[in-house]
């Protein structure tokens, strides 16, 4: 039998620190997209809550916590991150395993919003994009999911095939922010 070794979408390029900002890989575990069948939205929301103990998130919101989290993931679309989905939910939802389809990173540190603002058209201002908010948008022209996890911490997801470009683009943005904050040329390309 052939033994296959799972490889990270980021292939050893992370973690990465530039100035005050850190970029790291998130091992999200099982990821499943759930879409309600026609007319099953309410039934699915309550079955989901019963099965996993977390709310079915409304548009632009997340629920749960690290290890068992639900992300609003688009029109009629929620992504469950962490647990294997309860099989009985398939009565109400189409479920698709997306575990290998996404590269997931966390970017955090003082000035993180300035770095992201260089890459996405989203309105990230404090009053508009709060902790627990999520959006589907673009990061450096790539389709992405952006979630605010903490005051200075965001989760960014892109299709796995774009993971390398994501790291490059975020690194350049982080260098720009660090340079603005008082220069730190020595930090360029500092993979630690």
């Amino acid at each position: 039998m052939i033994e296959l070794t799972a490889r990270s979408p980021f292939n050893g390029t992370l973690p990465l620190s530039v100035g005050a900002l850190n970029l790291s890989q998130v091992d999200a575990g099982q990821m499943t997209a759930l879409s309600p069948r026609k007319g099953q939205g309410k039934a699915l929301a309550s079955a989901f809550k019963q099965a996993h103990g977390i709310a079915w998130p409304g548009p632009g919101r997340i629920s749960g916590r690290e290890g068992c989290r639900a992300l609003w993931f688009g029109h009629s679309h929620v992504l469950l991150m962490g647990p294997v989905p309860d099989a009985t939910l398939c009565q109400h939802a189409a479920m698709v395993d997306q575990s290998d389809a996404w590269g997931v990173v966390r970017i955090e540190g003082a000035g993180v919003r300035d770095a992201l603002a260089r890459l996405t058209p989203l309105d990230l201002r404090e009053t508009q994009f709060k902790r627990g908010h999520t959006a589907r948008s673009e990061i450096a022209d790539m389709p992405a999911s952006v979630t605010r996890i903490g005051a200075q911490s965001y989760q960014v997801m892109v299709f796995r095939a774009m993971a390398g470009t994501l790291v490059e683009e975020i690194e350049v943005a982080m260098r720009g922010v660090a340079a603005r904050a008082g220069g730190c040329d020595h930090a360029i390309g500092n993979h630690d």
Partner: protein, 90 residues
């Protein structure tokens, strides 16, 4: 240019893909005749003023929208989910 998505709120135009006039929602019956089908497939108005058109929130939530836009001023006058309009019709 900013477009208001009924689900996501006001977003940058670059998240959206333009499909064309919102005639796709008024598909003629299969036996409606050649003239109706010719209109549906090929003939378009070119109005100066408010126009209903289909936009796809491609890099956002993925919903299809019917957006009313003034072609003279580019003012965005409103948007609705295409799926909601279809359900209201049927």
């Amino acid at each position: 240019m900013r477009i208001t998505c009924p689900i996501c709120g006001e977003r940058d135009r670059r998240e959206f893909h333009y499909q064309g006039a919102a005639v796709a929602l008024d598909r003629p019956a299969p036996d409606a005749g050649a003239e109706s089908w010719d209109d549906y497939l090929h003939n378009r108005e070119n109005p100066a003023g408010p126009t209903r058109e289909l936009w796809h929130h491609e890099a956002g939530c993925g919903a299809w929208l019917v957006v009313t836009r003034d072609t003279v001023t580019h003012e965005m006058q409103g948007s609705e989910l295409a799926s909601a309009l279809q359900e209201a019709d049927s």
